[in-house]
């Protein structure tokens, strides 16, 4: 138990890659929390995927002891958060567990879209905000200009923003001191009934489900019998610990403290982030407000390339879901692809991460179908149905109208690329809501259909702005539009896994782009293959993949038989990454590639 005055809890927030995790490293290192020999770069990013991609996906917490200049030793609980918009939910719930935020801004880049999104969340959570200007070691760093930029765009005082280099360690002592002097201590009543917020939970191979909590009131001890106020479930605490970042057992946690416990909980799904934990015997009178659960917004089908791997896929998905409550799955059957799953994700990066993990950690070859959003079908009889998969689109005569999710997107971009950005948004059926300038950077706000964004919008944005734009979005509402289902026919047979929902006015150009793409993606066969896009029975685009004309080895004599056999085996292995549709083999990657619009 620690005096409230000696505790500081904070999150580190920033736009992607502005250096949150590197700053966390320096704070851990300078306070001697981790032995020097155990340090490694971005040490809190412990998942393989995080290390490989150099990004944070899951928020991470560390408890640090800091002997401050006032002679007292403080306990700092730091939460490093992800920068990518798909994982914004991790940031928002982390913020609810702490009182302040270090707002990291790359001094060579300035405020970006997620800087803004995160600040607004921090303000919402009533946080004290300490701006930190990172990467001042870079020649392009311009701390003074970025200070102005913060004041202009965000409207907070940046006069005492701390210039640092998380890379070289410059300025880190000032950050530690500011945490103690500028961030508020937590509040709470030690004698009140226990009230702890369930901040996060994950599955650990040795310990089972680990629950992270922030104690608001009361004291929690090992062996306590606790109750989850939303689910009503009760558990006995097996283990109580703090993260340093390794788990270190502790006797009790009091108000303002952050720690973890285990209690023989079977699955992560049994815990609800935002739930209130109290004592079974002496419960709190009322629960904390709780969080809105994270909603999957992007859906796609995942099918094994080899139909025999279905059970293995089911197994793998169930195991991954144990640890990630934000992705959903249900079984799906496709006429073309057989048995698989329709899965929901927080965004496209989340989708990629899950798919990568399934393929890698469970050694599966998967076909990913076109990502789609949830459309709302208003039926003539008044019923409203969710449509997760274009292939399930019912007979149009029963549908009165269709609604789609819209987003409010914020894009920040140097003005020389503004024209391209506006064109891109316009092409994606966007409606401009706002356009302002801060220096030479423009900030545009667009109302866009989520369906036009989930797929390759971000890639396109990066390419038209040479990587200089940043992007953030929130779902705003469902709205009616003229949406139709476009089917793709390969060799005169519809391939349900290629069906997409499109806006009627764009169906023709999308259809043409898709059939042209497919013509490149499908290898030539021994016969010619018509590829068509159709709305209902009306064909709107058509290409013909001509028959293969030549594939024969010119020279094959005595010594070549062995070589030839090996070559054939290699080609056969290549065929395995294709899927048979009627007489046609379609490569596994075509389902996603066909949708990319690179005009």
């Amino acid at each position: 138990m620690t005096e409230l005055d000696l505790i500081r809890n904070f999150s580190i927030v920033a736009h992607i890659d502005h250096g949150k995790s590197t700053l966390a490293d320096r704070l851990i290192q300078l306070t001697g929390t981790v032995a020097e020999r155990d340090m490694k770069a971005q040490m809190l990013d412990s998942m393989d995927i995080e290390r490989e991609r150099g990004i944070t996906i899951k928020a991470n917490t560390v408890r640090i002891n800091y002997p401050a200049r006032d002679g007292k030793t403080y306990i700092l609980n730091l939460i490093d958060t992800p920068g990518h918009v798909d994982f914004a939910y991790e940031v928002s719930r982390s913020m609810r567990a702490v009182e302040g935020s270090l707002l990291v801004v790359d001094a060579s880049q300035g405020v970006e879209a997620q800087t803004l999104a995160n600040v607004y969340q921090a303000i919402d959570a009533n946080h004290e905000i300490v701006p930190v200007l990172n990467k001042i070691d870079l020649p392009a760093a311009d701390p003074e200009r970025v200070k102005e930029n913060i004041e202009d765009v965000i409207g907070i005082d940046a006069s005492d923003a701390i210039p640092i280099s998380a890379k070289t360690g410059l300025g880190i002592p000032d950050v530690l001191e500011a945490i103690v002097t500028r961030l508020p201590a937590p509040k709470g009543d030690r004698d009140a009934p226990l009230k702890a917020m369930l901040v996060d939970s994950w599955y650990d191979a040795y310990l089972g489900v680990v629950v992270m909590i922030r104690v608001m009131d009361g004291v929690i001890r090992k062996g306590d019998q606790v109750k989850m106020m939303q689910t009503g479930a009760t558990y006995r605490l097996d283990k109580l610990a703090v993260l340093t970042p390794a788990m270190k057992d502790i006797e009790e946690l009091g108000p303002g403290e952050i720690g973890v416990f285990t209690a023989s909980i079977k699955q992560v799904r049994d815990t609800r982030v935002g739930d209130t934990i109290t004592h079974e015997k002496k419960p709190a009178a009322e629960a904390l407000p709780g969080f809105k659960p994270a909603q999957p917004v992007v859906f796609c089908g995942l099918f094994p390339v080899d139909a025999n791997d279905f059970e293995a896929l089911r197994d793998a998905i169930e195991k991954l879901a144990l640890n990630d409550a934000s992705f959903s799955y249900e079984m799906e059957t496709s006429a073309a692809l057989g048995f698989g799953f329709r899965c929901g994700f927080l965004g496209l990066l989340h989708l990629e991460v899950i798919r990568d993990r399934l393929e890698r950690e469970y050694d599966l070859d998967l076909i990913t179908t076109a990502p789609s959003v949830v459309f709302k079908l208003h039926m003539r009889d008044g019923e409203v149905r969710d449509l997760h998969n274009p292939a399930d689109m019912p007979d149009l005569t029963h549908v009165d109208h269709i609604e789609e999710p819209r987003i409010k997107a914020t894009i920040m971009v140097p003005d020389e690329y503004l024209g391209d950005v506006l064109k891109l948004c316009q092409d994606r059926r966007g409606i401009q809501l706002d356009l302002t300038y801060a220096g030479s950077r423009a900030m545009v706000v667009y109302d866009l259909p989520l369906a036009e964004v989930v797929f390759d919008f971000y890639d396109r944005l990066k390419s038209v702005t040479k990587g200089y734009a940043s992007f953030d979005y929130q779902i705003s509402e469902y709205r009616e539009d003229h949406l139709v289902k476009m089917s793709i026919l390969v060799n005169d047979e519809p391939v349900d896994a290629l069906a997409v929902m499109v806006h009627r006015d764009r169906a023709e150009s999308r259809g043409r782009a898709m059939v042209e793409k497919l013509k490149e993606l499908i290898p030539r066969h021994m016969f010619k293959i018509p590829i068509q896009a159709a709305i209902g029975s009306r064909v709107i685009a058509r290409e013909t993949l001509s028959a293969m004309r030549k594939d024969v080895t010119a020279k094959c004599y005595g010594g070549d038989a062995t070589r030839k056999k090996k070559l054939l085996e290699k080609q056969k292995a290549g065929k395995k990454r294709m899927r048979q549709f009627g007489k046609v083999e379609i490569p596994q990657t075509a389902f996603i590639q066909a949708l990319k619009m690179d005009n």
Binding site: M526, R549, K550, Y557, G558
Partner: protein
């Protein structure tokens, strides 16, 4: 015929690899080396000792064919060829109409040796003429020009009973009309056998590297290559040299008997660096491979009396696969019952039906053949048929 005797469908031959060339051609990925001096006496002795070794394992056979391939075997001294042929005759004996072929490059150096080769017993040459215009010969890195090649060809015709030559087409910048004209010129030279190969870009060669770097320009696309192939079939057929194999054309009866042993899956003993053989022993059929580098091979033969680096059983299901890979290259096709005996099962009836419906293969009186339409896409057909 029991599996042990299966090789008799193709006969028995000897392949002798001579791994040296005067220069390395930029498209060539054969086991060929440029070497300043070759001690031919040592090589002759080593080759003869390999023959003796194999003869002990394969008693009671008669050779239907011997083939000196390379590299450039026309750089062998006639005495070396003579030494090898004596050893082969002593080891196995020759069938009555034995074919003894030697690959020759058409330069003046080799031309001078032709009579000596014939005296040693060579009765057929296969000449690497490659192109009938000087600019393309230079682009192919050849050391001879057209005039020299024609002169060598004339000498060969007067010395050997049978003469064939090779051309490479679908070359850089070559169009359909140019190839048609060149092919007609070649046919006018009145050989009874032609090997006509589309230029293949092999990884690891100079052309391979240039292609990867994007600096090998003017190669035909798939459609042009297909048209050139069809033109070739057509023109040769009309000239009385129908294609009996994917790239080989002959007047009836003038086919290369040696190469037929490969395509019909007979047995062949193979000696010399990197040579691959297939031999049927009491314990079954085996694939053999010799040490690749000339030095290593010579050393192995001289010190241990064995130039083989690998000997591997070929189970009958793989023999069945090899029968398809090799046999379907021939216009005569393969015997289905022979294939079934080797594989222990019949071909996938689905695949066969699909290919038949597409007009890619035909079946009649136990023979499965690839049609004219199927030949240019044989690899795709094999992908369907080979299990």
């Amino acid at each position: 015929m029991i599996v042990q005797d299966d090789w008799r469908h193709g006969g028995f031959g000897l392949y002798v690899h001579w791994p040296f060339c005067a220069a390395k051609c930029p498209y060539c990925d054969f086991n060929s080396h440029v070497s300043a001096s070759v001690d031919q006496t040592r090589w002759a002795r080593a080759l003869a000792s390999e023959i003796a070794r194999l003869a002990e394992e394969l008693p009671g056979r008669h050779l239907d064919s011997i083939f000196f391939g390379g590299g450039t075997p026309s750089l062998m001294l006639p005495e070396t060829v003579d030494h090898v042929l004596r050893a082969a005759r002593a080891a196995w004996g020759f069938a009555n109409h034995i074919e003894i072929t030697l690959e020759a490059n058409p330069t003046s150096v080799e031309r001078a040796r032709f009579r000596g080769f014939a005296e040693a017993g060579v009765n057929r040459v296969s000449m690497g003429i490659q192109a009938l215009n000087d600019r393309d010969l230079r682009a192919l890195g050849r050391t001879h020009d057209v005039a020299e090649a024609r002169a060598a060809f004339e000498v060969a015709r007067s010395v050997f009973q049978r003469v064939s030559f090779d051309l490479i087409y679908a070359r850089q910048g070559q169009d359909r009309a140019a190839w048609q004209a060149e092919l007609r010129e070649a046919l006018a030279m009145a050989a009874d056998h032609l090997s006509l190969y589309q230029l293949t870009i092999e990884p690891g060669t100079v052309f391979g590297r240039r292609a990867q770097a994007g600096t090998l320009r003017g190669l035909p696309d798939e459609d042009l290559a297909a048209d050139m192939y069809l033109d070739t079939q057509d023109i040769c057929e009309k000239a009385g040299l129908p294609g009996y194999e994917i790239s080989n054309h002959a007047a009836p009866g003038a086919e290369s008997r040696h190469n037929l042993i490969y395509w019909r899956q007979g047995d062949w003993a193979a000696i010399g660096p990197g040579a691959h053989g297939r031999i049927t022993l009491p314990g079954g059929r085996f694939a053999t491979e010799a040490h690749l580098s000339p030095g290593a091979w010579l050393n192995a033969v001289e010190t241990s009396g064995n130039g083989e680096s690998l000997r591997e059983a070929v189970p009958s299901c793989e023999q069945a696969a090899e029968l398809l890979l090799m046999g379907l290259r021939l216009s005569e096709g393969i015997s289905e019952s022979r294939h079934a005996r080797l594989s222990g099962a019949s071909l996938s009836s689905d695949a066969v039906a699909r290919l038949e419906a597409l007009g890619m293969i035909t079946r009649a009186s136990d023979r499965l053949r690839v049609t004219e339409a199927g030949r240019p896409v044989l690899n795709a057909i094999l992908r369907e048929l080979v299990a």
